[in-house]
């Protein structure tokens, strides 16, 4: 699946590089940037659901341009994920919100609105964990490992984290954008269940041993232009 992202990313970078080759800037035209609210949907989880039934999720994305380079950005999502490990099987279910900013490091040609950006987010999630089944790991000599059905539910859990985002956005048609981003995450604090652990958090994904995580987004978004400002 990663191959398709890379292909698309490569394709998008071609668009960008073509536009770079032409440096002509007519003196008698005033170029204006579009300012407004961009709203969209993450395609990664809906597409991923076809290949991986254990993960279902939906994420809405949005950003609002505040200056030539800066955008206030937020994501709102829901996720239901079942993790199947060697000795435990559990389902994480909950919603999350992320808020922060993006900085567009790319200088556009004429009135194009493409972006190669870096950003930061503060993430917060409330969720529950259900321990579907577990195995008590004993000396293999006894050969008495048994998978025990549990169904124990841990409610009212939460997590706070920060993430760094690296992404690109390309304007496919007028006001319609396709974007791809990668995020590296670091957990700040979590409310942990008793005698279990938050090994997966909605919006954060798998929580690695050093409390870090990562994620991909593949978004389709639409810019609702509110006003134009001179470049």
């Amino acid at each position: 699946m990663l191959k398709y992202f890379i292909n698309t990313a490569f394709l998008l970078s071609c668009f960008v590089s073509i536009s770079q080759e032409n440096n002509l800037q007519p003196n008698d035209t005033i170029i204006k940037n579009k300012y407004g609210l961009r709203v969209g949907i993450d395609l990664f989880n809906p597409v991923n659901t076809f290949f991986n039934e254990d993960r279902k999720g939906l994420e809405l994305v949005g950003d609002y341009r505040v200056s030539k380079k800066f955008y206030v950005a937020a994501e709102l999502g829901y996720m239901d994920n079942t993790s199947d490990e060697d000795y435990i099987n559990f389902t994480t279910n909950g919603s999350y919100i992320k808020a922060g900013f993006d900085y567009n490091a790319y200088s556009n040609w004429l009135d194009r609105e493409d972006a190669i950006y870096i950003g930061m987010r503060y993430g917060f999630s409330t969720f529950s964990q259900t321990l579907n089944s577990f195995t008590i790991n004993n000396n293999p000599f006894l050969d008495d490992l048994a998978n025990t059905e549990s169904g124990q539910k841990f409610d009212n859990l939460n997590a706070h984290w920060v993430e760094f985002v690296l992404g690109i956005k390309a304007e496919l048609f007028n006001n319609l954008f396709l974007g791809f981003s990668f995020s590296g995450k670091k957990m700040i604090t979590t409310k942990e269940p008793d005698n279990f652990k938050n090994l997966f958090v909605p919006g954060f994904n798998r929580v690695f041993l050093n409390n870090s995580g990562f994620g991909f987004n593949y978004t389709l978004s639409y810019l609702i232009p509110l006003y134009k400002k001179e470049k």
């Binding site: 195995t135 790991n137 004993n138």
Partner: protein, 145 residues
């Protein structure tokens, strides 16, 4: 991407084994090695465990139920000298979460020991070091012989 989510293997401590230290009944401060000790766990199909020339052994405890019964046979290679004693270890097992790759382990609380007196005992005395078996850092019980 799914492949890198299963990269860790279980390396943490799982359910602790019972660690038995053998002491000299005549001089109870001294350890005393056992010779040709075979350990059979009742209800387990596997072969016996075998130890010799050591004063410290570890044996697994069952996580289902609240008791494991061991048959300790010394000098097990010599029909004339062998001596069988039955030791029952009783406890309440508690499941404790370890981590993603290991799942859960058991710890054993309120551990007690019952020797079956068959009139010909090689085990003279048992002394509990700790009633709570949580790890394998030190011995849990002393057997004097």
């Amino acid at each position: 991407m799914t492949s890198c989510e299963r990269d860790d293997i279980c390396i943490d401590e799982i359910t602790p084994n019972l660690i038995i230290r053998f002491y000299d009944f005549e001089d109870q401060t001294k350890t005393k090695s056992i010779s040709q000790l075979s350990v059979k766990i009742n209800g387990i199909e596997n072969d016996s465990l075998f130890f010799s020339g050591t004063d410290s052994i570890f044996v697994p405890l069952k996580i289902t139920g609240d008791n494991t019964q061991f048959v300790f046979t010394v000098n097990s290679n010599d029909v004339a000298l062998l001596n069988r004693d039955t030791l029952s270890v009783n406890y309440s097992a508690e499941a404790v979460f370890v981590g993603r790759s290991c799942g859960y382990k058991s710890i054993f609380n309120n551990t007690t020991y019952d020797l079956t007196d068959d009139g010909n005992m090689w085990i003279q005395k048992i002394e509990t070091i700790t009633e709570q078996i949580e790890n394998e850092t030190t011995a849990h019980v002393k057997i004097f012989h």
